[in-house]
Symmetry: C2
Subunit: 139 residues, 2 copies
């Protein structure tokens, strides 16, 4: 299994917006893109998907940009995965063959456990990891 | 995220071999393929990968075939995923951009949790689900 590059970039921009979050200030797409080394157009595409999913809000105009729609502790990694990739784990199993039903049941259980795992991680948790993780750049 | 079709078929054949397991009887590739509606050549390819990973053993000749190398309770879903897909969750994150380190840390934690989850599910567990799952065919 792997997470998509798009999901990675969505998490990166959510971490950036968590760091800037004060409930009113917006961040410019160009700045967000530059900080995470992503093209502005790809960043804009991702921000639009996150906006449609209700996780970020935008402000138009010269001083426009994006900010989190809710405090970072109230947005989960599960929401981001579902918004960007559609589901956390696809549980489609071919319906034919003797083991179809039992395998589908097993996949559903595993998907539910992964859902729980991702729902227990907030954007604030992701952003907080910077404290320890950031050290590696200063050794 | 999704599991590959190859992984699905690997689990299907392991469930079949779990049902037949008595420590000496082998199952024919053609029978296994037919029961799970998989082509014999694809089934053989998967069985060879499982054999190289030490999960099944083969017997050559006219009455040849495959059987589990160990009792089904001693083979985990994690082993199957690693043998077929290489890892449970790929945790590669681009190394550039401000949030690289914290995202890599988060991905590693999630991968470790998914590993635990898959290691806690044995082939015997998968096979046992047939009891409940099988009902849906008889309603």
């Amino acid at each position: 299994m792997k997470f998509s590059l798009k999901l990675e970039n969505a998490c990166r921009v959510m971490i950036q917006l968590a760091g800037a979050y004060d409930g009113r200030r917006v961040s410019r797409v160009e700045d967000l893109a530059q900080r995470e080394h992503v093209s502005p157009s790809f960043m804009l595409q991702i921000l639009n998907e996150l906006r449609r999913a209700g996780m970020v809000v935008s402000k138009r105009g010269k001083f426009g940009g994006y900010m989190l729609a809710r405090p970072p502790a109230e947005i989960t990694l599960r929401e981001i995965v579902v918004a960007i990739d559609g589901s956390t784990l696809e549980t489609d199993v071919r319906r034919d063959g003797e083991s179809a039903a039992r395998l589908a049941a097993a996949w559903r259980e595993i998907a539910a456990s992964i859902d729980e795992l991702l729902a227990a991680t907030s954007v604030a948790d992701l952003a907080a990891r910077g404290q320890e993780g950031g050290q590696m750049f200063y050794i």
